[in-house]
């Protein structure tokens, strides 16, 4: 009678309990007759359903057993196998498989994260491997040339791209995301982004916005993050806050200050940004500098310090405007006036430097007029001497 798996396990433990060495050796020997029985027992499943589902089922059990033992590196490897098997099936299927595809890819990424964390330190091998495996799904979605439009695997493209970007951001290998974005651009038969589910759109826009920000393409960063923010579901507060963290400084530079109403909805951002906003409104450059100093560490970690340092000139512009208003918007203002205004605001600089600040303000389009250096006089435009900051043509040009 062929031996079953459960009998085999019982025999094993019996041998151990009876400290029966030879029997244990016999049980573990591949050439023993029960080996064939056991192999056949598993084989029974192996062709019992259509390929690759038999193997996927086995992989699934392996993944679960490793997770139960907290062996994440092994679990990641088995999940990679499972995904590869799924990829064999994918080309023959239509878009109905996408929820399953998304789910196993998400699990793959999560396991990669656990595997890297478990191996300790700064290792990111599993996450990079996960990104490479997920990238293959991009090709498999892209090459659907037979399904009807509605049922195409192409509806998986943006989700997959978002997931790949998420992997590379996690391990800070941001430059690696160029490949998949290039591949995406090179394909002109991808449905328009606006037709994808909002979750896919917003995730994609967020990452493109962040990539543009890090590559110092601030115009694009602002556009993408604005779209991401407005299309993001209000209940996804963490994501909205994440978007706003970068969107607020970019919009401040454009002369669009976050309203009190907006900040109130995000207390952490209110705490971080309201000192800057207040200092800009009141032209209190000293308070602005204090805010920069106070949040320096945090802003550096978020890669935002330079952006806020750049926005400092807007509070300087407010101070100059305040000086101008306090002398009844005169069109002729001695440099000494700006010098004195700076001084009472706690910025004690030589007159030459004050003149230099004024020159800079004019050059950057914050003030309209010219300086008569000989007469130490600033001559301001009759109308619109201080245009609204929001009206400046290329706010990011001088960053």
């Amino acid at each position: 009678m062929p031996i079953t798996f459960s009998t085999y396990i019982t025999q094993l433990t019996d041998a151990v309990q009876l400290t029966n060495g030879p029997n244990l050796a016999y049980l573990l020997r591949p050439t023993s007759p029960h080996g064939k029985d056991l192999r056949n027992a598993l084989k029974r499943f192996e062709g019992s359903v259509e390929s690759p589902w038999d193997e996927i089922a086995i992989q699934y059990v392996l993944v679960c057993s490793h997770i139960a033992k907290k062996q994440y590196e092994e679990a990641f490897k088995e999940e990679s196998q499972l995904v590869s098997l799924f990829y064999r099936f994918l080309p023959e299927s239509r878009g109905w498989t996408l929820p399953a595809l998304f789910s196993i890819l998400r699990d793959l990424r999560d396991l990669a994260y656990d595997a890297d964390s478990q191996s300790g330190g700064a290792k990111s091998d599993s996450m990079e491997e996960a990104a490479r495996i997920i990238t293959k799904a991009f090709g498999l979605c892209m090459t659907d040339r037979t399904s009807p439009y509605e049922e195409s695997r192409k509806w998986g493209i943006y989700y997959v791209v978002g997931l790949v970007l998420k992997c590379y951001f996690r391990v800070r290998r941001i430059s690696l995301s160029k490949n998949i974005l290039r591949a995406l651009e090179a394909n002109n038969d991808v449905p328009p982004l606006a037709q994808y589910p909002r979750a896919h759109q917003v995730t994609f826009q967020y990452y493109i916005g962040m990539l543009s920000f890090l590559n110092e393409d601030f115009v694009k960063a602002e556009q993408e993050l604005t779209l991401a923010f407005y299309h993001c579901n209000n209940s996804a507060r963490g994501n909205k806050q994440r978007i706003l963290t970068y969107l607020i400084p970019l919009r401040i530079i454009q002369g669009q200050l976050p309203s009190a109403e907006l900040l109130r909805r995000f207390p952490t951002l209110e705490e971080l940004y309201s000192p800057f906003v207040k200092a800009i409104r009141s032209g209190d450059v000293q308070a602005y500098d204090k805010a920069l100093e106070r949040s320096e560490q945090r802003l550096l970690e978020l890669n935002l310090w330079l952006t806020l340092e750049k926005a400092r000139e807007i509070s300087l512009r407010s101070l100059f405007r305040k000086i101008w208003v306090s002398v009844d918007k005169s069109t002729r203002m001695p440099i000494s006036m700006f010098h004195a205004g700076l001084k009472i605001s706690g910025i004690d600089v030589p007159v030459e430097e004050a003149e230099c600040y004024v020159a800079n303000m004019i050059y950057r389009g914050f003030m309209r007029g010219y300086i008569s250096h000989e007469k130490q006089m600033v001559v301001l435009a009759q109308t619109n001497a201080f245009p609204r900051v929001a009206d400046r043509p290329n706010p990011f040009q001088t960053i």
Binding site: R106, K166, F169, R170, P197, R198, A199, V202, T203, Y206, Y207, T226, F229, Y230, H231, C232, N233, N234, S235, A236, R237, G238, N239, Q241, R242, T245, R251, G255, Q256, L257, P258, S259, E261, L262, F266, P267, T268, L269, L272, I280, R281, R298, E301, L302, S318, K322, I323, V325, S326, V327, S336, M337, A340, G341, K343, I344, F386, R388, V389, A390
Partner: protein, 105 residues
């Protein structure tokens, strides 16, 4: 005592507790560099569930003057604190201390 008891109770269902703390941090609004963009609970939603809802068709991000109340693009203020003007005037009429220093040198 009760605090300790509740801690041990929480520990018994560790994974869930972790999640809850993480979410709480979000609602409190932690801001960390590693804090990543989260998976959305639903794949799709309507305008009414987003900040597009209050725009009434205006382009997002136009600022208050364009109909978007989340941003203020018109924040110049002509009401200067009396104090500032007074200080500015007195500063201008002050004998220039820095200049006299320069002359002494």
């Amino acid at each position: 005592m009760s605090a300790a008891a509740s801690t041990s109770k929480d520990a018994s269902k560790a994974p869930e507790t972790d999640k809850v703390t993480k979410d709480q941090q979000h609602s409190l609004g932690s801001l960390e560099e590693d804090d990543e963009f989260e998976e959305f609970a639903a794949a799709d939603w309507d305008d009414s569930e987003t900040d597009l809802a209050h725009l009434g068709g205006v382009a997002p991000g136009t600022g208050k003057s364009g109909g978007d109340k989340l941003w203020e693009d018109n924040w110049d203020d002509d009401d200067i604190e009396e104090d500032f003007s007074v200080q500015l005037r007195s500063e201008l009429t002050k004998p220039k201390s820095t200049d006299s220093n320069a002359m002494e040198q």
